[in-house]
């Protein structure tokens, strides 16, 4: 395997969700800590798409935010090209930020409604290349708009004049403006209709080939993930439960949660199909997760060991029952 480009190493994030201090003191209640992300490690090779899938509250977006440096981790590190993202060195942080960009879920919220499209796309250009002359900048904006399938005259319009799919194209153009190596895409198509989703997914793949981009794709939609990613990590209540190549994960899922998730996805190829596996339970509250392996209350293979001990990720799967003995 080639050299890892992005390394996520033992990444953890805790959120303090305690009630106010006075209330805690009066009710004699302890602090409450939400372990949103718990020792997650994986790596991404240059030019590949790595996808994180999980249900709501699994911590996948929190990982994405840490991977771009929008949140600092409680523990662990994110490295790009062997350099840590979290160093108290402003010049270094600035240089790293140019190389990492993000595309958000909701293109209605991620674009400033009072700015013209041109200014939105120009912002990264101004920040990372302040000495660029104005005519060159305008030319760069026009080029970017064309790259994402819009027209250069769209630079003068406001975001409200565009449809959801077009706005997501603007968000992609803004991300590309910084000339990044790595883009974190947090549910880039969840807010879009299927026919528009296909346009955006195809565009993302074309741009990846053209610029050699590395993607971290965060999604709850397994079909989208299957379509885009080469490697996939499945996350459940803040822990990575399985990491595998896409084809292997879909043809031969190993972790019981992955199997359940795959059986649960409604798919157009399952016409009138009766369910073979019964789905049990819901995702527990992450503030008070089950002991041991978080999945054990819903797991058909659970043993007493699973209730006491959290499994390590060995050989791509974190499960006592299915991991091969070392």
């Amino acid at each position: 395997m080639s050299d890892p480009f992005i390394e996520i190493n033992q990444l953890s994030k805790d959120f303090d969700v305690s009630p106010p201090a006075l209330e805690r003191w009066i009710e004699r209640s302890p602090r409450r800590i939400l372990h949103a992300v718990d020792k997650v490690s994986f790596h991404i090779t240059r030019g590949e798409t790595f996808a994180l899938v999980g249900e709501s509250g699994s911590g996948k977006s929190t990982i994405g935010r840490m991977a771009v440096g929008l949140l600092s981790p409680t523990n662990g590190d994110v490295k790009l090209d062997h350099q840590s993202l979290f160093r108290s060195d402003a010049a270094h942080t600035q240089a790293m930020r140019r190389r990492i960009q993000m595309i958000f879920q909701d293109p209605y919220a991620s674009l400033n409604p009072r700015w013209r499209t041109g200014s939105i796309i120009a912002e990264p250009l101004r920040v990372f290349n302040p000495r660029q002359p104005k005519p060159e900048q305008i030319e760069a904006i026009a080029r970017l708009l064309e790259k994402v399938g819009l027209s250069p005259v769209d630079a003068l319009k406001f975001p409200h004049e565009f449809s959801g799919g077009q706005r997501q194209r603007i968000a992609i153009a803004r991300a590309l403006a910084a000339n990044p190596d790595f883009i974190v895409c947090d549910e880039p198509t969840s807010a879009l209709d299927v026919s528009v989703q296909a346009q955006i997914l195809n565009l993302m793949r074309d741009l990846q080939e053209q610029f050699g981009l590395t993607y971290l794709l965060i999604s709850h939609n397994l079909a989208v993930v299957r379509h885009m990613a080469r490697r996939i990590g499945v996350i459940y209540l803040g822990r990575l439960v399985e990491v595998a190549d896409a084809s292997q994960l879909f043809n031969n899922p190993r972790h019981p949660y992955t199997r359940m998730l795959l059986a649960a996805v409604p798919d157009i190829q399952k016409i009138g199909a009766g369910r073979t596996t019964r789905m049990e339970g819901e995702v527990p509250n992450p503030i008070n997760p089950p002991s041991g392996c978080h999945f054990h209350p819903r797991c058909p293979l659970a043993s007493t060991r699973c209730t006491q001990e959290a499994p390590e990720l060995i050989d791509g799967v974190a499960c006592h029952a299915v991991a091969r003995p070392a």
Binding site: G165, L222, R226, P266, Q269, I271, M279, E282, V283
Partner: protein, 329 residues
């Protein structure tokens, strides 16, 4: 395939047209749509946002509020017209004959009333039951929809339930008066995948037991594939294709349905390029004169720009496209 049944279909909608009055003039949100649902059948209604799916559901039970109004159309339930009913008669019909399930289970429950109060109120509004009998019936309903320990949970408030459990309560409410038809508007869209599968199974099983029909409105073709018997595909306020679910998915006739099926990523396929339909659905303010899909259609002809195709039946279903009427380029 269901046309041979002599009895009237459970729900029959003819030429339903809904208009939105705006300051700049009226907009046609639903344009002369006709369909029927047989007893015990699940009809899926799919389409992109703004296609008119939810308005169709709301128009059937007359939940339209100004400036949106029905300007034309006949709606019959079990052979009897329901489109001209008085407000009072319609109120009795809703819940009793037609149950509703909405997308967001949090907003369809009253946060200030316990589950017991809401279920008992619904039951007693439609059925002659004493308070204690209604309570017993409510507990039975909660057990049927899979809520553990219903005797204790019934006195809880909605906020104490998770999203999936709330949607189960909403299903219990919709089924309370044993309706003949359930209109389910995106019932699983707000839920996680593993919970979504449970809710679909539950809805299917309960309706099969009771012989109730479902009108399932969703944008998720996967949900339709697993659940529906027949599918109506809507585009810009019209039904462009209707037919059995297998036909719609495997051999769609209308160019829009064909494009839509190619655009949906599937679990089975490997990393291939998705078929894409260029552009987006036209806004209601800028509907083209001819076929609404013509500007995005790769097979559009001169005829499509000026005239609107109507639903042409074929051996399995029907599609609204001039190509199927034998017109050539």
């Amino acid at each position: 395939m269901l046309q041979a049944v002599p009895a009237p279909p459970l729900l029959d909608v003819k030429d339903l047209t809904v208009q939105i009055d705006t300051r700049r003039g009226p907009l046609l949100a639903i344009d002369h749509i006709s369909f029927h649902i047989a007893r015990g059948e699940i009809l899926g209604i799919v389409g992109e946002s703004g296609a008119g799916k939810s308005l169709t559901g709301a128009a059937i039970i007359n939940l339209l509020t100004p400036p949106i109004r029905r300007i034309q159309g006949e709606i019959s339930l079990q052979g009897a017209r329901i489109d001209g009913l008085s407000i009072q008669a319609m109120r009795e019909l809703r819940g009793k004959k037609i149950g509703m399930i909405f997308q967001d289970p949090l907003t369809s429950l009253d946060p200030l009333a316990t589950i017991a109060q809401q279920l008992i109120e619904t039951l007693r509004a439609h059925l002659p039951l004493s308070p204690s009998a209604a309570r017993a019936r409510a507990i039975g309903l909660l057990r049927e929809v899979g809520i553990p320990a219903p005797e204790q949970r019934i006195d809880a408030y909605p906020h104490a339930f998770s999203g999936g459990m709330r949607q189960r309560v909403v299903i219990a409410l919709a089924l309370a008066a044993e309706p003949e038809l359930i209109i389910a508007d995106e019932p699983t869209t707000a839920l996680d995948v593993s919970v979504q599968a449970q809710i679909i199974e539950l809805l299917k099983a309960l309706c099969a037991q009771r012989g109730a029909s479902i009108m399932l409105i969703t944008h998720d073709m996967g949900v339709i594939a697993e659940t529906a018997d027949r599918v109506a595909v809507m585009y810009a306020g019209r039904i462009v294709e209707i037919g059995p679910v297998a036909q719609i998915i495997q051999s769609p006739r209308h160019p829009y349905t064909q494009g839509l099926m190619g655009a949906i990523p599937s679990l089975g396929a490997d990393r291939t390029r998705l078929t894409q339909i260029s552009g987006a659905m036209p806004r209601l303010t800028a509907l083209p004169e001819g076929c609404a899909f013509a500007p995005r259609c790769t097979k559009a002809m001169a005829l499509c720009q000026t005239q609107r195709p109507s639903l042409t039946p074929h051996e399995q279903g029907a599609a609204a496209c001039f190509l199927l009427e034998g017109a050539t380029v």
